[in-house]
């Protein structure tokens, strides 16, 4: 009895083996088992979402993006759209200013210099202006080098020298960003009260600021054109600062698409601002006689003030006469 037991076991095993494997042996050729969840492909995923993300063992969130085709669009922006926008804005502005100069020449003080000077900008105001202006110019030149340098300077300098220049430019851009941001904040604080738009500005704008002829319209401390420059500096400066800081601390506040957008905003706005401030630089130096002194020595000629900022001059003269000023200077109580 006992000796037959192993035989039964073997027979049972053989039978079950046959039973279980026979169907698969019969079903030749084998049909493929599709993977669980059906087919997955990059094209199909990219039709649903702009990028493919997954899980990755590396503890760096940006490493979990598998494919982001938007990089290719950003490349088109950076290599085609941006240079065109910037190039047209900046070169266009230079052409406009050149044509204006040839047409109108330098805007003169019509009744000549009186020889009497009046204080227009105090030392601190001039300090704030130049702090912002110097850092703006450095940021603009080093920034433009990032965008256009490889087409303009690289062929002239060669790879080694251009790389060395650009890395120093980049350090300068990183560090001069801080005085610029401080300057924008201070400009806002000290000049906001003189830059709120009012009816005088509407009239000034209607008359084209006298730039196209027809006499100088009345203006307060800042005319409408200067107010536009003020708001361009403040609002543009804030957006440039925010986008610039995003770029300066990469991936700390934005993911890859945010970084691309930050660069897009920063670069386009920077180049438009450069164009706007070329006009500001022109009118403050070559374009208008007597204007530079306001930010140079801080004092302007009385006749210049009468011509360009008559309402402000009246106010200043009234203030100088009023006993108010004396009482303010006296120690209180």
């Amino acid at each position: 009895m006992l000796s037959r037991f192993p035989f039964i076991l073997v027979a049972a095993c053989a039978l079950s083996l046959l039973l279980f494997t026979a169907p698969s042996l019969l079903a030749q050729p084998r049909s493929p088992t599709p993977p669980v969840g059906g087919p997955v492909s990059a094209d199909q995923l990219l039709q649903q979402l702009p990028q493919i993300r997954g899980r990755v063992a590396i503890p760096v969130p940006r490493a979990s993006v598998l494919i982001q085709p938007r990089g290719r669009s950003w490349r088109v922006f950076h290599e085609a759209t941006l240079p065109w926008i910037g190039g047209i804005a900046i070169i266009g502005m230079l052409v406009v200013l050149a044509v204006f100069y040839l047409w109108r020449g330098r805007l003169r003080v019509r009744s000549g210099f009186s020889g009497v000077a009046i204080l227009r900008f105090a030392a601190f105001e001039r300090f704030v202006h130049w702090l912002t202006a110097v850092s703006f110019v450095i940021l603009a030149l080093t920034g433009l080098n990032i965008t256009f340098g490889k087409w303009v300077l690289l062929p002239l300098m060669g790879n080694q020298a251009f790389s060395a220049l650009t890395i120093w430019g980049k350090y300068a851009h990183n560090f001069f960003a801080w005085p610029f941001m401080l300057g924008v904040i201070l400009i806002f604080i000290i000049w906001i009260k003189d830059n709120l738009p009012n009816k005088v500005d509407a009239n000034w704008l209607r008359k084209g600021g006298g730039l196209l002829g027809g006499g100088d319209p009345p203006a307060e401390r800042f005319n409408a054109g200067q107010k536009i420059i003020f708001w361009a500096a403040v609002l543009g400066g804030v957006v440039l600062s925010l986008s610039g800081l995003t770029l300066l601390f990469p991936f700390s506040v934005a993911a890859i698409d945010g970084m691309q957008t930050a660069d897009l905003v920063h670069a386009v706005l920077a180049q438009l601002m450069i164009a706007v401030f070329l006009a500001h630089i022109y009118i403050g130096t070559l374009g208008m006689e007597g204007a530079f002194d306001a930010m140079g020595t801080g004092e302007v000629d009385l006749n210049w003030a009468k011509q360009h900022h008559d309402l402000w001059l009246e106010e200043e003269q009234a203030k100088a006469k009023s006993p108010d000023l004396g009482s303010r200077a006296a120690p209180a109580g």
Binding site: S31, P32, P34, P35, V36, G37, G38, P39, V40, S41, A42, D43, L45, I52, R53, G54, R55, V56, A57, I58, V60, R62, A63, S64, V65, L66, I67, Q68, P69, R70, G71, R72, W74, R75, H78, E79, N145, I146, T147, G149, K150, L154, N159, Q160, F162, S163, T166, I167, K170, Y171, N174, L248, F249, P250, F251, S252, I256, M259, Q260, D263
Partner: protein, 198 residues
């Protein structure tokens, strides 16, 4: 001349990370730099796939186009390389790269990210082939020795294929026919503007 490409067969990749380890070892890649990584999509759900990704050595590479100091070049084999001597660490190549390939030694970087590092297709850089300087800056130059990138050579399931684009496509197509399905060549449309009918 061969046009070198990578192709990852996601239906074979088992996320063992052998390619990642092979790359780190062959090139002595510093800590924190990941020239190759494995990403799992639909993790734990139906349709889960893992894909090993590094630089795809794109046709008309976006990284090369956006570099402000123009430090990239593409070899006759289609491999995209760059000069660490010229790189200023601006990070633009990472913004443009569809595959997250460029890596930087410093991540939070007030001044600079440092010199960009990425997959070289195991073929070094602008320095003389197989020189010490080349190895220190760019890692191994297996191509100069007649070998393919170590990641693909060591892939345990042969999911990751490296070599002449036409040959690896052929291998992949045969696989798809045999097994009856395939999830396509990941990233090929974006990198080479090419799709593989499966």
């Amino acid at each position: 001349m061969a046009r070198m490409k990578f192709l990852c067969d996601a239906d074979r990749c088992i996320e063992c990370n052998a390619c990642v380890t092979a790359c780190k070892n062959a090139n002595e890649v510093p800590w924190g730099i990941n020239r190759r990584r494995v990403i799992t999509i639909n993790d734990g759900k139906p349709g889960e796939r893992s894909i090993s990704m590094a630089c795809m050595h794109c046709t008309d590479p976006p990284c090369k186009a956006v570099c402000p100091v123009d430090c990239f070049y593409q070899t006759d084999d289609g491999v995209v390389l760059h000069s660490k001597d010229l790189c200023i660490g601006c990070g633009y190549c990472f913004y443009a790269c569809p595959f997250g390939a460029p890596q930087y030694p410093r991540t939070s970087n007030f001044g600079s990210r440092g010199k960009m590092d990425k997959c070289t297709y195991c073929s070094g850089g602008p320095e003389a082939d197989l020189s010490t300087a080349e190895f220190i800056k760019y890692g191994a130059n297996r191509l100069a020795q007649g070998k393919l990138p170590l990641c693909a050579e060591m892939c345990s399931t042969k999911a990751l294929l490296a070599g002449d684009g036409e040959i690896i496509v052929q291998i992949y197509k045969e696989r798809v026919v045999k097994r009856g399905y395939g999830s396509g060549a990941w990233g090929w449309k974006t990198a080479y503007n090419e799709t593989i009918a499966t």
